[in-house]
């Protein structure tokens, strides 16, 4: 059984988190993400969880990482300025292989920018924003239903790969209200436990160590310093650093096919839209209106690690068109994987591309 509701995207995200077993939320109010915190504040205590309003976003993500090390599913939600503040500790989560979820309801930037307007301006920040080399996972919902479903998925991926994992939504899906089907229960997949005799930061076949949360008697030392498989600092040996950081990157990048999640339409098309998040809705509208089989659509639900093989699903593609709510961010990633021209259709200011704008771009480039 399941129930059907008319719900706001941010509320659906919180409901998805609760369904996934999230029992810790540390956050700081910021438009346009605040409804997630408000929903968690109302719902978590009754679900046996902890909601805590921290003093800033640095503290929010820190508390989430601390809670995650007790074995709790833990999350925070924020928007651009708060996301920027979290960057150092996001790198810490990557370095310490802490499974945690960060929801970014993107708004117009830079700086304070447009608090109540949508953007997709943090797509490179979520991949490269903290210092040093690492890899993470970023997911991009385009509907209220996906705000629920993909939040659950974000928790599973965070646990599976032991990385900070991002739900990169935006003000449009965050504040939009749509019909959403909420199942009575969802299946969740947690981290593999640390095997007897295994070291706490030993990668194993897939590069992902087993997890021994605090209190499980394994005396795990967790540090953001370069460390060996025991977790002990080893900050000057070039090989120790090389071995650790290459594993942190490879455990995600080598699993691109396992992590990938995308939709394709009209595989024979010569002109192919590549989208993620709400611009996909405009493309879907254009395709419904034109009934033109020569237009294709690749819609990414996972943007990082980037599934470059998805572009090969369109063997006849002559041109790729990329509408994004930024000045052209993910378009760079597409450009470096294909020989065909990749045309950026940037839009900033907070409004979605209109179907007419995309038709115009289509006519200009097909």
């Amino acid at each position: 059984m399941s129930r059907v509701e008319f719900m706001q995207g941010n509320v659906a995200c919180a409901e998805g988190a609760l369904a996934a077993g999230c029992r810790f939320f540390g956050g700081y109010p910021i438009t346009p993400s605040t409804e997630i915190a408000e929903t968690m504040a109302r719902r978590l205590p009754k679900a046996g969880g902890v909601f805590i309003s921290m003093e800033d976003e640095l503290a929010s993500i820190a508390a989430v990482i601390g809670a995650a090390w007790t074995g709790a599913r833990a999350m925070t939600a924020t928007s651009g300025p708060g996301f920027s503040l979290m960057m150092e500790n996001i790198g810490y989560a990557a370095m310490t292989e802490t499974p945690c979820v960060i929801v970014n309801i993107q708004r117009g930037g830079p700086s304070t920018g447009q608090p109540t307007r949508a953007a997709q301006g943090d797509m490179l920040q979520c991949r490269f924003g903290s210092h040093g080399d690492y890899s993470t996972i970023a997911i991009t919902p385009n509907s209220v239903q996906e705000m629920f479903d993909l939040t659950v998925k974000t928790f599973d991926l965070a646990d599976r790969f032991r990385v900070p994992t991002f739900l990169m939504a935006d003000e449009i899906v965050g504040h939009m209200r749509e019909r959403v089907t909420i199942p009575d229960a969802v299946e969740v997949a947690r981290s593999s436990p640390l095997a007897e005799g295994a070291l706490p930061f030993e990668g194993g076949d897939d590069g992902v160590p087993g997890f021994a949360p605090f209190g499980s008697g394994r005396s795990v030392h967790v540090t953001g310093l370069t460390h060996d498989e025991r977790g002990y600092p080893d900050t000057t040996d070039p090989e120790a650093h090389d071995r650790l950081v290459r594993r942190l990157v490879a455990k995600v990048e080598s699993a691109r096919r396992e992590i990938a999640d995308y939709e394709v339409t009209n595989l024979d098309a010569e002109t192919v839209f590549v989208t993620y998040g709400p611009p996909s809705r405009t493309v879907q509208q254009v395709m419904r209106d034109s009934q033109d089989d020569s237009i294709g659509h690749l819609r990414l639900r996972v943007v990082w690690p980037f599934p470059e093989f998805a572009l090969q699903e369109f063997p006849n593609a002559k041109v790729f068109l990329m509408p994004e709510l930024n000045m052209g961010q993910m378009v760079r990633e597409v450009q470096r994987h294909v020989d065909q021209p990749v045309i950026s259709i940037p839009k900033i200011g907070g409004e979605l591309h209109t179907p007419a704008e995309l038709v115009q771009a289509l006519e200009a480039h097909r």
């Binding site: 820190a62 601390g66 995650a68 833990a74 500790n89 209190g215 008697g217 967790v222 002990y232």
Partner: protein, 262 residues
């Protein structure tokens, strides 16, 4: 030996300089842990960045060595998510009072049930001895070559004002008193803050005519005044020598606390 079985002996030798006071503070803390009868698999040590914050790496429990200034925020997450764990935070004056100042006052305000031990050596030791928010006015450091010109923070008074349930201050000379204070803090529900004035002969003493370890410890001892005596002298309008700081228990109270063991 204090608390045998609680040290990661395979991590020795440690990184602390000859004459550093941090080992004394670790010993006193583990002495208090032993007195409390805490178990290793129920006790978590958390720290930020700096010399003080390397301490958890030498203790054989689960431990979280975090980012600069944020230890209390991480510890809040640990303790609120799992109140059955005993949480101890090691921090330093730069970590706690400079970059982590906001987390310090909010952790005291929330009164989260944990024990916070600040090794206050009046300097950024790890980076080679720069002036910190507790560097005394006039003291020489690599970034205060003409003498520190800013007033210093009184960390213990700050914790009292912000609401911690237990606050004490001692020095690395006062090992028995310090051990007792840490244990008293651990017994008090809510946030216990223990400031330990400790010596950094390498990066502080060297620049301030206190090159010898014994000179630094004697300097701490001779400038420490029991809080009762200090209060009596000041109430009577009698003078207190320059550079005096109070030691002892500054507060023990029962404000509502968070994250207390179920």
């Amino acid at each position: 030996m204090i608390a045998p079985g609680w040290f990661r002996e395979d991590r020795l030798p440690h990184i602390y300089c000859t004459g550093c006071g941090n080992g004394t503070v670790i010993n006193c803390t583990l002495g208090a842990v032993e007195e409390m009868g805490w178990k290793r698999n129920e006790t978590i040590f958390v720290s930020g960045i700096g010399c003080s914050s390397r301490a958890p790496g030498y203790i054989l429990t689960d431990s979280l060595h975090t980012t600069h200034g944020r230890a209390l925020a991480f510890a809040t997450g640990v303790k609120m998510a799992q109140p059955d764990l005993n949480v101890v935070v090691f921090t330093g004056d730069g970590d706690l009072a400079a970059i982590g100042g906001n987390h310090f006052i909010h952790a005291c305000r929330r009164n989260v049930d944990m024990t916070v031990i600040c090794m206050n050596n009046h300097i950024y030791g790890m980076t080679g001895g720069q002036g910190s928010p507790t560097t005394p006015p006039g003291a020489i450091s690599t970034t205060t070559p003409y003498g520190a010109s800013e007033p210093a923070f009184d960390l213990a008074e700050l914790a009292v004002a912000a609401g911690a349930n237990y606050v004490a201050r001692w020095t690395s000379y006062h090992v028995k008193e310090l051990t007792k204070a840490v244990a008293a803090g651990m017994q008090t529900p809510g946030l216990a803050f223990i400031e330990v004035r400790t010596q950094c002969p390498t990066n502080y003493g060297r620049h301030n005519k206190l090159r010898r370890v014994s000179d630094m410890i004697e300097h701490l001892r001779s400038h420490a005044m029991l809080v009762d005596k200090y209060n009596r002298l000041t109430a009577e309008g009698k003078p207190v020598p320059d550079g005096t700081f109070t030691v002892g228990e500054l507060v023990r109270r029962n404000r509502p606390a968070m994250g207390v063991k179920r």
